[in-house]
Symmetry: D3
Subunit: 270 residues, 6 copies
């Protein structure tokens, strides 16, 4: 709303209260589907410019669509590169989820990309976000922006405690598909594999020990809930492509009167 | 496929075999979501340029996306106007679902908009469809294109037998929301109201008596199946906006561990 | 906001209090510029799909952008055609400004295009607006939607009292450029020509006598204010193209240190 | 160019000198391909929003692209409807080619849609064209805008002398595919059929007798040249889709070392 | 097609049979022109996001358009950066042509960007490609994805045998314009310069000696055929911009009846 | 214009005459607003793909829009990365303004990204710029392209003389907001702070001593003029977002009859 002036990322307040934020995930390059998603009760919605079918020009539409609601806009960037990280922040993302943070050095580089001097080297020019958040954006930028690194390789797991100790980092986010792949398993989510469960617990502990938020991507609401109960602060469930495909297959099956799914299996998780 | 050469609308073959076609319905203006929908097992997919958030420039992307699959591309036009009807056909739609056909005169005008001389006055220029269907498109256009009028007002119901007798018309499609509204009820779908059931039966009979296909929009797969069993040839289930919203609300509820829906109720039916 | 549920068009409340609504006018086909405009303090913002460089696919982005603020979204349609009128309403416009309403019959047709049965024949399918306004949209549609006809020809002026008496019409909006052109003058706004002043007064009186809102397009804030003081309820000032061009010319002149304007004169008013 | 100020449509000057204008034809919805076409030496370039894969939002990009060159921008509209005709003119088209003008009444309606009062009822708001042409656009609009009706049915042929006598009409344009279809032939261009040759001659004579420009669509440069020598003022050759497809097929054949065309046959003419 | 399930890149099968693949090249940012190109008989079509006027958001449309045919979708990336390489693969490209691979280290980095662990570090999230190729995409990714490095500098030429020995690399592709420029010549294609012929032969030999596919960009079909006969496996001919411009210039010349080209010379080769 | 053939960047000629170029700045992702800006008398117009809401796909539209005028098209890139730098040059930018050039090494890398061999390693493929500038583009590329590094950190200031001595660099451009932030001040423009004035003077001197153009971003025309008088060669004033927002706020205030600004304060400078 035009009179709204935000001083802190609302997820921080939510986490202070001990709540788990439920996060939506966007891969369809459309402001309309972004608005549909943002209006379904998520606490935050992430525009995925890595594996989503979205790059900057459509990400901007998605971020604007999220701003029609109270959901907190986040963005996953394709890579830890200053150009796209800073563009997403200027465009209204109140947090960056960055893939493949494998070392404390990479985590520090991410923090530098996300923060103004003296904390980092983010370039100044908050063209849209100063409108959507308000004129005090720059003053409050540290409290408004969440810097979240993804832990999704064996190397990252080995370094997770050091990564979690990175000054300026706000959270760790587990990409279970990549992590399972890197650990020698087939890529999957909602894992019960002991090696994955152990890895998840270790990452969660590293986050908690360093006062960071812990997040994880999930395939199902049930597993997401379980993760929330385990202590995760940010739980995502699938993405819009998967939700739409699943609902459409169910509709087809219902109309045909059989239980068989009628079509392709869209690409999966993270 | 580039070597594919179609001589007849595949829905005609399906109907000759007595099958019910299950139809997907697009309202999200994105080729990606259109492709996701088209790959879930629908027999046909309709690009809705009336109540969908889609106009020509995005409809073209949706039609192209459907062409990556075997689903038959159809289009609902905003109104019975020659400009948009002919553009959708040139762009690859193999059938037009036209709202608010209330009289045999309007039905005849729709036929004229959809057919080349001497049957109608469709202008010649099948820029994309001659690519997607093949070089014999013009020769086979009558067999390829489905001309479907929507019966969704009291006036249309009163005229339904005369409408159904219109030469060149291929089908009737019931818009239950508008029809219920016009009959003095609150707009709804999947109706059990006697007045609606009677209207549906009358429209179905008018179609069958004239050798036309009968179609109906449904909110649920179960009702769609029931309509198929009753004799309907084309049953649609919801639309992509509603499917996505419903699946997202369910995901949020699952992650929160409650049954309550978390957000807005997106706009409904037809 | 996602929890917001609107029962009445906020402009109606504002007008009950005797206030004049200041209206922004969009002609740039971009959600970003739409959001910039919507955040500058206008009570309402109109997406102009007639003389603006905007058609449906970009109008949807503009309507969504306006929804990030409290400004009331309105749309001017290219013509009094059911297809586009209904699409703009389904997409979130809470009012239609329709050009060239020259007779009570045309006004009645406009009302019919904007209202559900039994008042009119708007087709049911509020895909986006039921999200942006809330689930009770249909129940409150009459109070939410403003139906505004433009008075901008000699014929319309001759018929203005009859037009104003049209049941279901909510407002008259003066297009001074077209009206002056039709009255044999060069097209202009902010007129002091006696024949135009007389016409404006007559239209205002016709509106007031019938309990309608009266609106007028203006070139300058000063004239707009004068019109508000005269009794107009809705005053627009220029449009985004003209505002941007004027500000840019002033910047160039300032940087060059001369008073001369440095470039082209973008197309004018309405 | 920003300092350019046009007082008359350059095609009028060219025609006074007895030259034949060679016209390019756009069907690809892209400003880039439009610019490529406009830079190849055409005197004018027509954005086809009827059978082209282009509607308003992409037509605007094409018109802007043509403005990077000296080629005269024209537009074919989908139908004789005031909304789209006026939008194309406001957006920079310096001429309208309108399909299916079958009677003097329809021709007069087209003139009215294209001209300001008192000649017609075009609404005032030349948002882009006043920039691209200059501030005197309105004063010179009659000399700048070409109003061209398509003669492409048997009925139009029967009425062609009366149509050609319509006050304010600037030209006739033959759509050979539709005309041949309407005359009971298979749709084709570059015709040698006596009935078509006779029709073409009659239309050409009607234009010349009334001081109108005569235009025709052609499949090949050779036939276009022949038509120019016969007296036609405006000759179009194919369109960008067909040119691209033909060149690509030739490239494939060349690379494969055979004469056989390698692929589909894109949809044809007008 | 929705039931199609690919296990291996079709170009691999074609190459096993000793055939030369003819490759189309896209630079126009439009799904329509992409579909037109893909339907003309090319074995594969490459979306050029380096020198083409295409970035991610339009590349996605092009990849989807190619999926309406049997042509194999490939992508040239702007640079050897993980973000864009992985996005193109997730979006449906079945091969990456990467510019400026000048050393075995750069080749190894490219392989790493294109392959899942343990072979590389491609992040998991095949959102579209798992739909277009089928659910076994991940299992077969190594056989499905072609990793092709461009040899186009003197340094690359000096290192070509070592580059060709890079594990996981599938092909070398010659960019003659850059290579000639780097060798001190004016940039050109279809070269007969001895230094270029020698370089081409050396690169071809390095590819063959290491079991790699060899590709080359050509200006003409005739030279492409010659290269195929010489042993190249993948030959591209010009691009859509050049094909369209050439065909349009020829049409203008034909219509004017002279041999002179009528316009600009669009930017060339690679 | 299609017959225009440029041999040198027009800003170089202007600077030889001792004039100051006034530069417009684009952040709205729309070809229409870009054209509006380009027609207001600026000598050059910069497409900002760093802090502007513009990435490649919309930048291309902006560059094309600028080509409808005589203004020189420039681009600011998000970062010193070869992919995007080369794409902007291929697409028609006649100069690159690159952020965060902090050392002579980074300046040399920028030069390499902008120049063909032997000067640099820009890849060959001037797809659009060879059309917009003419067939001799490559021969004249060094004279046509401006390579401009931004000085906007303390480190850059410390290195400014060495940076300015970089072979192939054409200009320095001051980003006052980032520079003030890096110098420990609040980010601002149009500075009178002694530390900033001293820094500006030092950068200006370094440029002049090395024969480079000096540029600076300004918030107001008055300060821009002052900088021109001080010796700066390129002065930018605000950007389109800020100009539009300011003009809209003034319009609202004028219409309301108060001096208070009515809304948000859009994000600021550079």
């Amino acid at each position: 709303m035009e009179t709204f002036r935000m001083k802190e990322n609302p997820l921080r307040a939510l986490w202070r209260e001990g709540a788990t934020a439920v996060n939506g995930w966007l891969t369809i390059p459309s402001g309309h589907s972004a608005e549909v998603m943002a209006r379904q009760g998520f606490d935050s919605v992430t525009v995925d410019t890595q594996h989503g079918m979205i790059h900057y020009d459509t990400a901007l539409e998605c971020l604007r669509a999220i701003s029609t609601t109270d959901a907190v806009p986040l963005a996953r960037v394709p890579w830890n590169e200053p150009g796209i990280v800073m563009k997403m922040l200027d465009s209204g993302a109140l947090g960056i989820i960055c893939p493949m943070i494998n070392s404390p050095e990479e985590a520090a580089e991410l923090v530098a990309n996300c923060c103004y001097a003296p904390r980092g080297n983010r370039s100044f020019g908050p063209t849209r976000v100063m409108m959507s958040v308000g004129p005090d954006y720059v003053k409050n930028a540290t409290d408004l922006v969440l810097v979240i690194g993804m832990i999704e390789t064996r190397k990252a797991l080995d370094n997770v405690e050091a990564i979690a100790a990175t000054s300026g980092l706000d959270g760790l986010y587990i990409g279970p598909s990549d992590l399972s792949l890197s650990l020698g398993l087939t890529p999957h989510q909602d894992s019960r594999e002991p090696v994955m469960v152990e890895a998840i617990d270790r990452i969660l502990a590293a986050a908690k020990d360093n006062g960071l938020a812990a997040g994880i991507h999930n395939a199902s609401g049930a597993y997401a809930r379980e993760m929330g109960e385990k202590g995760f602060d940010l739980v995502s469930v699938g993405n819009d492509t998967l939700l739409l495909a699943g609902a459409a297959r169910a509709a087809v099956s219902g109309a045909r009167g059989n239980g068989a799914s009628g079509g392709g299996d869209p690409g999966g998780g993270y």
